[in-house]
């Protein structure tokens, strides 16, 4: 740490010294002198040397590019713009020239044209991170609702593409309310002519773009001739750029088959190269039994996809530990639409009656989808099959509507 700090201070001292009036000995190699002048931030000399070079080699567009860039660093926006205009006209597909022109347009306050150029630059080089960064900066300073929507969309896209980017800061969404309501229901059909189940739920969550997200939920679950009501809530904290932690708690005051209460804690971390890991502990307390769950999830993002694997261990006190595995693949078709498929297999501890927890082998498949109709309203749907050992096979389908208040 100390040596690192010393290094930083030394580097800063060098920067500070560079801030002093430059006194540099130049040689006879013009190209080397140009590089030296730029490295010394002696921009006035650099431009003079570049002009000298361009008199000798007027077709050297690399040096013409460098000249426009240096003029921009000197605050000579109009001259820099003239330089970039010429370069882009001559080489419309050169991403450095297009990007350089966009940067100068942004410095001049011509954001609309700068953003148009940046879209073009991104089409030429989709992985050029600096282009995304400048686009993010320029959109951040726009006041229109349309720009805020674009900023949010860009943030989500950039977060997937550059998960380690230090410049990427979640924007506060000015066009939306902090609160969203999600209301939905699920119908479940059981094999062996057993009566169907159904569930209704309502969830309210905050989404203010701040570091903390809160959520509260209420649900009613009907199985056979009995029903349980559950209320609960929780919060997630974005502790640092890469660390997230949260908790939630639920109680069922009139539990007949659900846990009387349950709570969970989790912590997740983003890693390099689009990997994410999350560890969760959950405890469910029934009248006569307690089940501890240890759940580990690892996720990998690639292109418009997310792949995840979850290992869940259920420790029923006094019984053996059971394990379940789930693999999931999500496809983010665009900003509005996403689909997912999950396959699960293993053993599951399930409460089947008051105080009775059943451990059975399970397997299942689930399909999920969501589509935003507009900026406020989204539709969510899911269907699947769940086999609970030899006891039953459950087919289910559900849908929900989310409304941003």
């Amino acid at each position: 740490m100390i040596s690192c700090r010393r290094f930083i201070i030394a580097a800063l001292c060098i920067v500070a010294l560079a801030g002093a009036p430059p006194s540099v000995s130049y040689g006879t190699d013009l190209t080397a002198d140009i590089d030296l002048a730029i490295s010394q931030r002696d921009f006035v000399t650099a431009v003079a040397l570049l002009d000298e070079h361009l008199v000798e080699q007027p077709d050297d567009d690399n040096k013409r590019f460098k000249r426009a860039q240096v003029l921009g660093w000197m605050g000579e926006y109009s001259l820099a713009r003239d330089g970039f205009d010429g370069l882009v006209k001559k080489h419309p597909d050169n991403v450095d020239y297009v990007f350089g022109r966009a940067r100068i347009l942004g410095l001049q306050g011509n954001d609309a044209e700068a953003l148009t150029e940046l879209r073009r630059a991104r089409a030429l080089a989709p992985d050029y991170e600096a282009i995304w960064q400048l686009q993010f900066q320029l959109l951040s300073r726009q006041k229109s609702a349309d720009a805020k929507l674009k900023l949010n969309a860009l943030y989500l896209e950039a977060e997937r593409k550059f998960p380690q980017a230090g410049w990427l800061i979640k924007p506060r969404d000015q066009t939306r309310s902090d609160w969203t309501i999600l209301a939905g229901l699920t119908f479940e059909q059981l094999s062996r002519d057993l009566p169907g189940w159904n569930r209704q739920f309502l969830e309210v969550s905050s989404d203010s773009g701040d570091r903390v997200r809160y959520f509260f939920r209420a649900s009613r679950y009907e199985r056979f001739d009995r029903s349980d009501s559950t209320i609960g809530g929780g919060a997630d904290w974005q502790l640092t750029r890469n660390w997230l932690a949260g908790f939630d708690a639920n109680i069922s005051p009139d539990a007949s088959f659900q846990a009387n209460n349950e709570y969970s804690l989790h912590a997740g971390r983003k890693f390099a190269k689009n990997w994410v890991a999350d560890l969760r502990y959950r405890r469910r307390n029934y009248d006569t039994a307690t089940v501890d769950f240890y759940i580990a999830t690892t996720e990998y993002y690639f292109g418009n996809f997310r792949a995840a694997y979850t290992l869940g261990l259920a420790d029923l006190r006094g019984a053996k530990v059971s394990a379940g595995h789930t693999i999931t693949l999500n496809w983010y078709r665009n900003d509005r639409t996403a689909f997912g498929v999950s396959l699960s297999s293993g053993n599951e501890a399930e409460a089947i009656d008051a105080g009775q927890v059943l451990v059975t082998s399970v397997r299942g498949i689930a399909l999920t989808g969501r589509h935003a109709l507009n900026d406020r309203i989204g539709l969510h749907g899911w269907l699947g099959i769940h086999e609970q050992g030899d006891f039953y096979r459950r087919q289910y389908a559900g849908m929900a509507v989310s409304i941003r208040l």
Partner: protein
């Protein structure tokens, strides 16, 4: 061949905290031409290291959207550090919403300039911040502040 800008006597030191390399070059050039000695920090962590390890500067030019440590957090920290708490902070940010400006000023920023900025206006605001700071130091104990240097 020896060349360079006409020598100017640097009378003030400025800490520039800016993560955009190109804007950093531009601010460095502008401020040097205006006679400042410039310390450049490219992110919030480097700025923290500067604040911990060097004597207070005369003015801080601070971006808000910074990697690792936000400009808002830096303002809060600077206002808590005895030696640095009165150093004027001029925010230079793309954030243009009223609530962002109010938040920065409430946390202790001295002034707020939005991007894109006009270079001469920015320099004028920096001059004013430095002048006001010097007047403040003159009134509230030159000796005490000098002892900190």
């Amino acid at each position: 061949m020896t060349t360079g800008d006409p020598a100017q006597i640097a009378t003030h030191r400025a800490l520039v905290v800016e993560d955009d390399e190109h804007i950093g070059y531009l601010l460095d050039f502008m401020l040097r031409r205006a006679g400042y000695d410039v310390l450049l920090a490219g992110n919030g962590r480097d700025a923290q290291s500067v604040i911990e390890n060097v004597p207070p500067v005369d003015v801080i030019l601070l971006d808000l959207m910074l990697p690792y440590v936000s400009g808002y957090q830096l303002i809060e920290e600077i206002r808590e550090i005895h030696d640095w708490q009165h150093v004027p902070i001029v925010v230079l940010s793309a954030k243009v919403l009223e609530q962002d400006v109010v938040r920065a000023l409430d946390l202790g920023a001295t002034d707020y300039v939005t991007k894109p900025f006009r270079p001469q206006e920015l320099l004028a605001r920096l001059r004013r911040a430095v002048t006001d700071h010097e007047a403040f130091v003159g009134q509230h104990g030159q000796n005490r502040v000098a002892a900190l240097r």
